[in-house]
């Protein structure tokens, strides 16, 4: 536990020294969302209709964009190799890194999402569903994305490749996440959707760290 907290503290400290790493995904999230009224239609009825999907797709892309860097700097300066050969649990290290990524991406996105929801005229009763679905869904995105990041960290052209690997795996989270917001906006019960998002989160929390650790070992050894 001590090791986990130390690793988490180190990662968060590194992020706070480069404040742009926090702001960039959020700015990207806002910009992607803004493209839709500009590109499709500013009609409030239409925007309220597509808001759940657009916000979720924008959040998903923002997570994907930032997850590429989750192991990159540590790999480049060699500290990842030192962490792999150390006697501490690799699974805990991976979990700490994923948690710090989620805190700077998914968690912040969930906090500013009502701003975009307001610009998209989402009915107010959908706000709780939006925040809860993002809080429950984005950790899964970070976990899945870290698998892709681990597999591609040793490659020079990681960027496009990681999207190819990870985007198909994001589909269930997108469906249930946007479904939650749709149901919430119409005043329907959302517990079922949240339970499914939670179930996917628990499953990926159990299995993904093993895949990430194995992926990192392959990338560092090659």
């Amino acid at each position: 536990m001590k090791f986990f907290l130390a690793a988490l503290k180190r990662d968060l400290l590194l992020v706070f020294r480069h404040r742009n790493d926090i702001i960039n995904p959020l700015a990207f999230f806002l910009m992607v969302a803004v493209l839709f009224p500009l590109g499709v239609s500013p009609n409030p009825v239409f925007l309220a209709e597509v808001a759940p999907g657009v916000i979720w797709v924008a959040a998903l892309l923002a997570c994907l964009l930032s997850v590429d860097g989750i192991f990159r700097t540590d790999y480049d300066d060699g500290s990842l190799e030192q962490m792999l050969v150390s006697s501490e649990s690799l699974l805990l290290l991976v979990l700490a890194k994923v948690l710090s990524h989620w805190l700077i991406s998914g968690f912040c996105l969930a906090i500013i999402s009502p701003l975009v929801a307001m610009m998209f005229f989402l009915p107010e009763q959908g706000y709780t569903a939006l925040i809860l679905s993002l809080l429950l869904g984005t950790p899964t995105l970070s976990l899945m994305g870290a698998i892709g990041a681990g597999l591609t960290v040793g490659l020079r052209k990681g960027g496009v490749l990681i999207s190819l690997l990870v985007l198909p795996l994001y589909i269930p989270v997108l469906i249930f996440g946007a479904g939650t917001v749709h149901a919430g906006a119409m005043g329907l019960p959302i517990q079922g959707y949240l339970a499914l998002l939670g179930a996917i989160l628990v499953l990926s929390l159990m299995l993904a760290p093993f895949a990430i650790a194995a992926a990192l070992k392959i990338s560092v050894r090659s």
Partner: protein
């Protein structure tokens, strides 16, 4: 606990034994594939009765359904072969997994294309956002991801292991993706064949379909073995037995 695997399992790990063994199997599977595919195609496209609702357009089922089944089993095979390669450090298993990916992707494309051709007269559109179509499209994306990752590594050993991990992650996700898109939208007719129930079609219709499915599997075995054999020769090009094989041609 020590698990003892049968002898043939360890023999398969030898590239040379694999090459000779598949070389002996190849003619039989090729003959079976040709025979079954010809019989199934003629029977299905000419002699099977027309559907009372869809008329003759339903006959594409004899290509569409076998390719859809095969596209899914091929992914399963790729992931299992990758897992065997990771657990037993067996190079041949990685060769087989690597050979599965392009075959599976082509068959998934075939399933989508025949589905589109069938969808046009039946639903009036080439593409509809239906659960089963979308799931097949996602399967194709998973194949593309595996192929892209495999070709991105310069080191073969890392490429093998990374691909195996990715296909295993995909295997865990396939049922989740399947049920999530099914929840999301369903228009497609339910599965034609299930193991547990009697088919709803009359035997004159489903027997040729079964023949076609078996033919597709034999064809898959032929292509898979050919690709894997070429890859084995490529990887073992420095060994003496490969040099002898090349000289004997």
């Amino acid at each position: 606990m020590k698990i003892k695997m049968p002898r043939w399992f360890y023999q398969l790990a030898s590239p040379r034994w694999f090459y000779e063994f598949t070389g002996a199997l190849l003619p039989w599977f090729s003959a079976a594939a040709i025979l079954l595919l010809v019989i199934g195609t003629v029977w299905g496209l000419v002699f099977a009765p027309a559907d009372y609702q869809q008329g003759n357009s339903f006959r594409i089922i004899y290509i569409h359904v076998p390719s859809s089944i095969l596209a899914q089993s091929c992914y399963m095979m790729m992931a299992v072969a990758g897992a065997v390669g990771l657990v037993w450090k067996m190079k041949i298993a990685h060769v087989v997994a690597g050979a599965c990916a392009p075959i599976g992707a082509s068959i998934a494309i075939m399933s989508l294309a025949t589905g589109a051709i069938w969808g046009k007269p039946t639903w009036g559109a080439w593409w509809v956002w239906d659960a089963r179509l979308t799931a097949m499209l996602v399967l194709l994306f998973l194949y593309i991801g595996v192929i892209a990752l495999n070709s991105a590594f310069e080191n073969k050993a890392s490429a093998d292991k990374a691909t195996a991990i990715l296909s295993l992650v995909g295997l865990v996700n396939i049922p989740i993706i399947k049920y999530s898109v099914e929840w999301w939208n369903t228009l497609h007719q339910p599965a034609t064949f299930t193991v547990t129930e009697k088919p709803a079609m009359p035997p004159e219709m489903w027997v040729p379909l079964l023949v076609m499915a078996l033919g597709f599997y034999c064809f898959f075995a032929v292509v898979l073995m050919s690709r894997a054999r070429t890859e084995v020769l490529e990887r073992e090009k420095r060994s003496d037995w490969v040099k002898r094989v090349i000289q004997s041609y």
